[in-house]
């Protein structure tokens, strides 16, 4: 039986560091974190690389990154996903190939069984799936590109999803609300953290 996760993400800055504040997010639900400009990218890089700054402490899904073995690190990394702000689609692959790319590379055994899931998810976002899946990324609208990125992440069923700061061209509410509902419908125990950057004046 898998133990229930208590802490999704916790960051303690190095002792004496005054420009950073500690971060502690409980598992489950969706959260919105406001950071200074540039800090969101740093946090995402730290989480994805499972590496904290010298003197800092980073805990992801109840595991301290400083005490991970390579096998544990690989297993932990497989439970984390990033929701890119601009879709992050590969330009020479169509929408279907983009959506199934991580599954096809990391979990190829699941590939034959996710077709209906993809269709249902896209239809749930109000789009016609067959027409959309044949299109290349350059032919997709911004909303379709966003939906493709959402579906790609949901298919992986990660325990922790970090959302990149939303691109200015997209409405701010588009990422948090739409993705959160679909993600939690398929993965109730998962945690979604939407990062936002405060523009400095």
């Amino acid at each position: 039986m898998v133990a229930k996760i208590v802490l999704a993400l916790a960051y303690e800055p190095p002792t004496g560091e005054t420009t950073q504040e500690p971060l502690c997010i409980a598992a489950g639900g969706s959260h919105r974190v406001l950071t200074q400009r540039g800090r969101a990218t740093q946090l995402i890089d730290s989480v994805l690389s499972l590496c904290a700054h010298p003197g800092a402490r980073l805990t992801i899904l109840d595991q301290d990154v400083n005490s991970l073995t390579p096998a544990c690190a690989a297993a932990l990394r497989a439970r984390i996903a990033v929701l890119p702000a601009l879709g992050g689609l590969i330009s020479y692959l169509n929408a279907w190939e983009n959506i199934t790319l991580p599954i096809g590379f990391n979990q190829p055994a699941r590939l034959p069984h996710i077709g209906h899931t993809v269709l249902d998810l896209i239809a749930g976002f109000g789009l016609e799936p067959h027409a959309m899946l044949r299109k290349m990324p350059s032919e997709l609208s911004p909303y379709e590109r966003t939906v493709a990125a959402w579906v790609r992440v949901i298919l992986e069923s990660p325990d922790l999803v970090l959302g990149e700061p939303v691109a200015p061209a997209l409405p701010p509410g588009l990422t948090a609300f739409g993705f959160y509902e679909a993600y939690h419908a398929s993965h109730r125990e998962g945690t979604f953290i939407q990062l936002e950057e405060i523009s400095q004046t």
Binding site: I90, S91, Y92, G104, F105
Partner: protein, 340 residues
């Protein structure tokens, strides 16, 4: 705004006292002040001669900051190697080669296999039609020249077809065509992916870019070039034989008889193996330049393609010479002969 002239009245320092960069031979500035260390790698704002007095923050191009004056040939060579970062580049290329050689099993993944077939389709199938005309032309041209200028008889014509066209010209011609089509396409594609952030997106998805992008391209191009080479050889040799039969008073059957008398399995194996090595080298070099563009601007894309083409051409020439030496003991076009 102050307009600097190339020669003449150029101030030694900016108004805040920051030293100007050292002499750039291209614009012939007579400056000898050492670049402050904290200004290393700070990019130049733009390339204009129009420089404002207000732009005094020390934005100095690293290309203008040369080291000590070059006095001797060894120091010149060392300077070139350091400037072109060849040591690190060579290490990266070798690492890429080792990665490909030790991860063949990754081809079993569906997405990687798709990339492999996509590469074979582009490099092999799409290019085959163009090979027909090129192969026929080169075969007939060489034979026509040999017969008309050298007065070749049956034996010499067949030897030229076998030892020149089949062993050397065929693989080189196919490799050059693949460099032009596939080499530039791969370098351009990967450079654009790097600049647009798609490579970073792959890493975020836990997808190794080398596994998905480099490995299938290298293997696909190696196999495609081997098959293309064989195809070119058939066309070139066939075309040459037909022309020979027309130009000299000999039957096609006699030509074929002589051809198979001189030919051996070693010739075919030599050319196929050499082509596979060519294909691997071209793909590795093109992938390297695509994944490591000189900067993150769109201008880096054509530069990556040009670098890939130039380096690939040099690589296949060097590999060709090495293969000729190893297989037949010939070096420098037969001027040096080794004990085989």
């Amino acid at each position: 705004m102050v307009i600097f002239s190339i020669r003449g009245a150029i101030p030694k320092t900016y108004s805040t006292g920051v030293a100007l960069p050292k002499q750039n031979p291209k614009i012939n500035l007579d400056l000898s002040t050492q670049l402050p260390a904290h200004l290393d790698n700070v990019p130049l704002a733009l390339n204009s001669q129009h420089v404002s007095h207000e732009r005094t923050t020390g934005w100095i191009s690293p290309t203008l900051s040369t080291s000590k004056k070059i006095r001797t040939l060894p120091s010149l060579v060392l300077h070139v190697l350091k400037r072109r970062n060849l040591f690190n580049g060579l290490k990266a290329r070798v690492e890429l080669m080792v990665y490909v050689g030790s991860n063949f099993a990754m081809l079993r993944r569906p997405v990687v296999a798709e990339e492999f077939f996509r590469q074979v389709l582009f490099t092999g199938t799409s290019a085959a039609a163009g090979m027909v005309s090129r192969g026929a032309l080169i075969g007939t041209l060489l034979i026509a020249y040999a017969i008309d200028v050298l007065g070749a008889d049956v034996t010499l014509a067949v030897k030229i077809l076998l030892f020149v066209v089949m062993r050397e010209v065929g693989p080189l011609l196919a490799a050059i065509l693949v460099i032009q089509r596939s080499g530039t396409a791969i370098a351009t594609n990967l450079a654009l992916m790097h600049i647009s952030g798609e490579i970073s997106s792959l890493r975020q998805m836990r997808i190794d870019p080398h596994g998905l992008l480099v490995l299938p391209r290298v293997i696909g191009m190696a196999l495609s070039l081997a098959v293309l080479t064989f195809y070119v050889q058939i066309i070139a040799v066939g075309g040459g034989m037909v022309l020979s039969a027309l130009m000299i008073n000999v039957s096609l059957g006699e030509l074929l008889e002589n051809f198979f008398r001189f030919a051996s399995v070693r010739d075919i194996a030599y050319s196929v193996l050499k082509s596979m090595i060519f294909g691997s080298a071209i793909a590795l070099i093109s992938c390297y330049h695509g994944l490591h563009p000189i900067d993150d601007s769109i201008n880096a894309v054509p530069k990556a393609a040009v670098s890939a083409v130039m380096e690939s051409m040099m690589a296949i020439m060097i590999l060709n010479a090495i293969f000729a030496y190893l297989a037949f003991g010939l070096l420098f076009f037969g001027l040096v002969r080794a004990q085989v």
